[in-house]
Amino acid sequence: MIDAVLEKIREADFFQELSDDALAAVAAKATLRKYATGDALMRKGDPADSFHLILEGHLKIVTTDARGDEIIINRVGPGETIGELALVDERPRSAGAIALDNVEALELTKEAFFDLLDHRLDVSLGILRGFSNRLRFSTTYIEKVIDWSQKTAEGDYSFLEHTQPITNRPGTDDDKAAQLLSAFYSMVRRVKAREEGLKQQVEQLTFEIDQERRKKEFEEITGTEFYARLKEQAHTIRKKRQGL
């Protein structure tokens, strides 16, 4: 494995806790893969049999909503890993990963990964630390959502302007926190749009009076005998009061 690749592995957040020796052991087990734009590294529902470290290029992490439309829940690039959680919990892929340009990635199969964990305590410990970092990161997500929920309740949408829902941190295809944040973001945007629509509607409505209906209703009320008598009585009383 060439030094440039080893350097990339060292920069990956997921492996940041590993010693050089442990990194070299990982690199020795990995295979270099190349993908063209539009290629799928994995699809939702696939069995989880490997994970990838992106060396070059970018991918979108996608899932589908209730109507079957594609939702992009994240975008990942060099230094990020995808699919490592599924490897550990042995569940099918919860999201797909599609190449947005030419992608180079290191693939580590399940067997190779478990073999490493089995024989290298330093690798195991480093990976565990990586997961622990991720857990902390998810907690930050939750704190953010709490903060934004409070802001939304108060009608303060300013965070939409100066925060970015897509993150360049690792932890992608299984990352429910990222999905939550993304869904939350889209919810707040829609609430904001609805609120603005309502405001505009009210402004437009104030410009419309049906003059014909106005005239008709006025005539219906004033055309009665009761009204004629009332108008006369009111007139008399006003005059009388003015005179005093």
């Binding site: 409505l205 104030t206 209703e217 009332l230 009585q233 009111a234 006003r238």
Partner: protein
């Protein structure tokens, strides 16, 4: 006959906050040391007594009794200043000159009046007597929404008519007819007030637009307030929360009433 002014508060549709506005305006003017009366001519659905903390048990003679000749106006007038109800807002009315002329909340009494109808001269005489006997500066009338006969009677006798509307098309349409009726009945002071404007809505744009539509002054644009909705029936909001934006906007209406000719 006294120089006290009759101020009717009206809205074309229900739910505009009419009774709340009436009670709070009357309370604000009473707090300034003026002598104020509040008549509930919303005979079909009376409610303003609740805002002053007057319940069924405490309610004595009513406007209905006066209208069938079973009580004098003096007997109907209930001194709010002598019987301040619970609530930190209402408590401030202690010792103030504010009198409530409630409508009966008994079903039989309500249907009786509606069946018999109200004689304009009798109602007018009652209002004039209330002004002279209680030496009132202002007599507020809380009317029934819409333009039925008893509401037309109230409008016909008013010196000041405040029409409350929400900034929506249906209210605007109904207000147009009310404005035309008020002009036909020679009401000397016609004022508009917008309530329940959406938060962050451009109040000055609403004011300008409605003033140009009706050629009448918009006294104030009051915001839609959940604080207000939550506390409305428990107390007089503008007295208990004087710094709230709704209360501040309500107080903007007061000089229009005081300056009415």
């Amino acid at each position: 006959m006294s120089e006290g002014k009759i101020v009717s508060i009206h809205s074309f549709r229900g739910g505009t906050g009419k009774s709340n506005t009436t009670a709070n305006l009357a309370a604000q003017i009473a707090m300034m040391g003026r002598r104020v009366g509040v008549v509930d001519t919303d005979i079909q659905s009376p409610g303003i007594h609740v805002l002053f903390g007057l319940d069924d048990q405490k309610m004595g003679k009513t406007l209905n009794d006066f209208l069938h000749g079973a009580a004098t106006i003096r007997e109907v007038g209930y001194s709010v200043g002598e019987h301040p109800a619970e609530g930190q807002g209402r408590a401030q009315l202690k010792g103030k000159q504010i009198f409530l002329f409630p409508s009966s909340i008994k079903g039989g009494e309500i249907s009786k009046i509606l069946k018999e109808g109200i004689d304009f001269n009798v109602l007018n005489e009652g209002l004039q007597t209330a002004i002279s006997e209680f030496d009132l500066d202002y007599l507020f009338i809380d009317t029934h929404p819409g333009l039925n006969e008893e509401t037309l009677l109230s409008i016909a006798t008013s010196d000041v008519l405040i029409v409350i509307l929400r900034p929506d098309n249906q209210d605007l349409q109904g207000t147009a007819v009310t404005v035309d009726i008020a002009r036909s009945l020679d009401v000397p002071n016609l004022l508009l007030m917008v309530n329940k404007a959406l938060p962050k809505h451009d109040a000055s744009a609403i004011k300008a637009e409605i003033e140009s539509q009706f050629d009448a002054p918009v006294t104030s644009v009051l915001p839609l307030s959940f604080d207000m909705a939550e506390n409305a029936s428990r107390d007089l909001f503008s007295l208990s929360y004087p710094d709230h934006e709704w209360s501040q906007a309500l107080k903007n209406v007061v000089p229009f009433i005081l300056n009415a000719k």
